[in-house]
């Protein structure tokens, strides 16, 4: 009898690996843990969980004002969420951390599996086990056919399989396997995903997106700098100094609506120039539509929105006149009732102080299909039918040169409150009508133009992302549809001259058992009976 004894412990000198070894062991264990399938599963779940708040809470990158509203209406709780980056989920530290860990985990499991894969692709199918009856699928039968005939038949029946024949004492056995494409697909899938994740992240660094409103009566926009945009968002590696130069000119805009005032069709004739055309001054036409962006020099130009620009002409007491056509923003997208502010400097006034008492802003409402009810202007439809404005005329210091940027759609309300801007008229005007101010200034509502909101997008990696996504999808198809499976056949000669041969067939699905039963039934039927099968 032997007993195994632990080596005697020396309490004075317990076994202690050196620090270097400890660190190494720690790293190795961490790496193993991180790249195990279970960790990948947990990380996948964490990723799903971490993505969820982005769907439930307002997000800055989609809607800043909603975020502010949410924070102010939820007190300390709202600000806490803000500190924890819950309004910028997809750029938050914790989301990126999970993302990064998953990527490491993915690399960690792909590396060994790739080696394994190469080995497997060259390996022969395993030996036929001694006891085939242990396999999940098994069949045994007697037959009058000779072993040699069966050998021929098995070769034919299993022609698409990777096979090994082995001679045995009283006969032979065949070990066959197929469905190697599953592993190929699986690796493709995971590599595709890895590539997709990497290029998606790179794209965040090198892409930009800008929006700009352009008048649709020949207005122009050039992609020559950030300041040409109304809003601009860019990745870390973009500083706006070397945008791909191109220009667009918006010649018109057409919207069509259904009888129920639902938008049915948007269309804009534009012209653009890029590359050599910029030097030669050649304009090329393009029909800009929703779903049909203009693609040029790696940038895309989208037709995102549209609106109205009421045009006003002011005739000053000295006889000079000024005309402006400023975009107003719809407050109701269904009826295109719009709000805005058209701002004028009085011409010919050189004295700064004087000038600041004479600036004029026209603010109020614009209705493309006007309807006045109880003195209040509303719009009944989005299309131009009976355009009308209901305006307040403000005079005083607009603060245009106060150094603070102002919205083009409104005046600085604090100036109205403290009296630096005074309301001097309020009136409804139809096209062609005018009003007169106390000092003889006349303001005329001339008519309406349209504006379009263009978005320019640039993302140099999106083609790669698509490529990897396609690899991933193809790999997924192979890895889910192809089953890795084995079949073994063992044939024994009948004992001493008896005419019957014993044929034994067994099967095993290497991956999921689901669905192999039927196929095995078919294969074994053909092998056992030697018939071509149904």
């Amino acid at each position: 009898m032997t007993t195994t004894e632990a080596p005697p412990r020396d309490p004075e000198h317990p076994y202690r690996p050196s620090l270097g070894k400890q660190v190494l062991a720690f790293l190795r264990n961490t790496w193993r843990g991180l790249t195990s399938m279970r960790t990948a599963l947990v990380l996948l779940f964490l990723l799903a969980l971490a993505a969820l708040p982005g769907a439930l809470l307002p997000q800055r990158r989609l809607n800043v004002s909603k975020v502010n509203e949410y924070i102010s209406s939820h007190g300390w709780w709202g600000s806490l969420l803000d500190k924890l980056e819950f309004y910028d989920v997809y750029s938050s530290v914790w989301f990126s951390a999970i993302y990064l860990l998953l990527m490491i985990s993915l690399v960690g499991c792909l590396t060994p599996r790739s080696f394994e894969y190469v080995k497997q692709m060259r390996a022969k199918p395993v030996l036929t086990p001694r006891n085939l009856a242990r396999m999940p699928h098994h069949r045994i039968a007697r037959t009058a056919r000779t072993p040699e005939a069966i050998r021929e038949d098995v070769r034919k029946q299993l022609s698409g399989w990777r096979r090994v024949e082995r001679e045995e004492d009283d006969g032979f056995s065949v070990s066959a396997e197929r469905g190697y494409l599953r592993e190929t697909g699986n690796l493709l899938f995971h590599f595709g995903m890895l590539g997709l994740i990497i290029f998606f992240a790179l794209g965040k660094l090198y892409s930009y997106e800008g929006q700009v409103i352009v008048q649709a009566n020949g207005g122009q926009f050039c992609n020559s700098g950030i300041y040409n945009y109304d809003s601009f968002e860019a990745g870390l590696r973009i500083d706006g100094t070397d945008l791909d130069p191109f220009c667009v000119k918006v010649n018109d805009f057409t919207a069509r609506y259904t009888a129920t005032n639902q938008a049915d069709y948007y269309h804009s004739h534009i012209e653009y120039q890029s590359g050599a055309d910029l030097q030669s001054g050649t304009w090329r036409p393009y029909d800009l539509e929703v779903n049909e962006p203009l693609r040029t020099v790696g940038d895309r130009v989208y037709l995102l929105g549209n609106g109205y620009s009421p045009q006003f002409t002011i005739t000053f007491p000295n006889g000079e006149s000024r005309t402006q056509n400023t975009q107003w923003m719809y407050s109701n997208p269904a009826t295109m009732l719009s709000e805005g502010a058209t701002k004028f400097d009085q011409p010919g006034v050189t004295d700064e102080v004087q000038r600041r008492t004479k600036q004029i802003a026209i603010t109020g409402l614009f209705a493309p299909s006007s309807f006045i009810h109880g003195g209040v202007l509303t719009s009944t439809a989005p299309q131009l039918d009976k355009p009308m404005v209901a305006i307040d005329v403000l005079r005083g210091d607009l603060g245009l040169d106060a150094g603070r940027g102002q919205s083009v759609f409104s005046v600085d309300q604090s100036r109205v409150a403290d009296g630096r801007l005074k309301r001097v008229a309020r009136q409804n005007l139809a096209v062609g009508q005018e009003l007169k101010l106390d000092d003889g200034t006349r303001i005329r509502f001339d008519g309406v133009n349209k504006w379009v909101n263009l978005q320019v997008s640039h993302d140099p990696t999106q083609g790669y992302v698509l490529g990897f996504a396609i690899v991933m999808f193809a790999g997924l198809g192979a890895s889910l549809l192809v089953k890795r499976r084995r079949v073994w056949v063992r044939v024994r000669r009948g004992e001493d001259g008896s005419a019957s041969t014993v044929i034994e067939v067994a099967g095993l699905a290497r991956t999921d058992q689901a669905g192999y039963g039927e196929e095995f039934q078919r294969i074994s039927e053909r092998l056992v009976t030697g018939r071509k099968g149904s």
């Binding site: 439930l56 259904t258 049915d264 999808f473 689901a514």
Partner: protein, 323 residues
């Protein structure tokens, strides 16, 4: 083009009729489930098959024993009628969808009502395929329960009159992306139900006192697991394709292929959950119960995606919303 009001009304009528027929089929199937012997038999048969597979020798030379002819009791007959009603309902629902398409002259899945109508149709068709392959007809009621509830909400709260779609939706991607999403989501509802039943069944297997009346009438856990897995591996690639096409379309319509719009986010979450399900089946210690729980969570995400996202959050996909 003009909306054809008459066709649209016929479509609505067919929709209502379909719901009524599904309710009837549900009742018939519950009757079979409650009183039929089929569940127990199916469970026993699948158990036997497992035994054969795991070691028992089978003599292939013996003539295949024909299954003993079973007497068909009343519950079975009613169950069959239920299945026939299900087929009828599916045909009516298909007609409702087609008529809607003719009424609006476009693919009939341009708003939430139409989307919900198509998803539940796919679920029913997927289930018809399942009961053809597996002896689980008596479970039809458990599938129809969520289907009928969804169709009811869809036909009342979410009903939208037939209308053309906004310019962003006038694209062939509407056909490709949305139909892939519909088929994926529709089929995903089947494994959700199967995995839920699986959890009941395994709870009963572990402790027969639990669900003592209900448990034994369910098919063997193995069968339910197989249904869940097979349906998932059909739905998952289709859903993946739908998400990919969505990204390609978003690039053309919204200026970026992925922007964490609420719908995109929830689709991503659902995708990750189902990927986790497939992994869990290849991970020791996660097969069985945990995998089934993950699948049920995926089911919840799919339903959430179908309804919650459009109704509660505001994103670019909200065009499909109800007004």
């Amino acid at each position: 083009m003009e909306i054809n009001e008459t066709l649209s009304q016929y479509s609505d009528l067919l929709y209502t009729t379909t719901v009524a027929i599904y309710v009837l089929a549900l009742l018939f199937s519950l009757f079979e489930q409650a009183f039929g012997a089929k569940g127990r038999r199916a469970a026993e048969r699948s158990k036997q098959r497992v035994l054969v597979g795991s070691g028992g020798l089978e003599d292939a030379d013996a003539p295949v024993e024909p299954e003993a002819p079973r007497e068909i009791g009343r519950p079975e007959r009613i169950g069959r009628m239920g299945a026939a009603l299900l087929v009828l309902g599916a045909l009516l629902q298909l007609s409702a969808i087609v008529l809607r398409g003719f009424a609006v002259h476009r693919a009939p899945w341009g708003n939430m009502y139409e989307y919900g109508m198509a998803v539940t149709f796919i679920t029913v068709v997927a289930w018809l395929v399942v009961i053809k392959k597996f002896p689980v007809r008596h479970l039809t009621g458990f599938l129809l329960l969520p289907v009928v509830i969804l169709m009811f909400i869809n036909g009342t709260l979410l009903y939208t009159v037939a209308a053309p779609v906004v310019p962003a939706l006038q694209s062939y991607w509407l056909v490709i992306h949305v139909s892939a999403a519909i088929i994926g989501s529709g089929v995903f509802l089947v494994p959700g139900v199967a995995s839920t039943l699986y959890l009941f069944r395994t709870a009963h297997d572990r402790n027969p006192a639990k669900f003592a009346r209900f448990g034994p009438k369910l098919p063997a856990a193995d069968v339910l697991d197989r249904i869940a897995y097979r349906a998932t591996i059909v739905a998952f690639p289709i859903f993946t394709f739908g998400v990919l096409c969505g990204a390609v379309w978003a690039e053309a319509a919204w200026g970026r292929f992925w922007g964490w719009d609420p719908k995109e986010t929830v689709a991503f979450i659902a995708w990750v959950i189902y990927a986790a399900y497939l992994h869990s089946r290849a991970t020791a210690g996660w097969r069985g119960k945990r995998a089934a729980v993950i699948n049920v969570v995926g089911f919840a995400a799919t339903i959430f995606n179908l309804f919650f996202v459009n109704l509660v959050t505001v994103g670019l996909h909200s065009y499909a919303g109800v007004s």
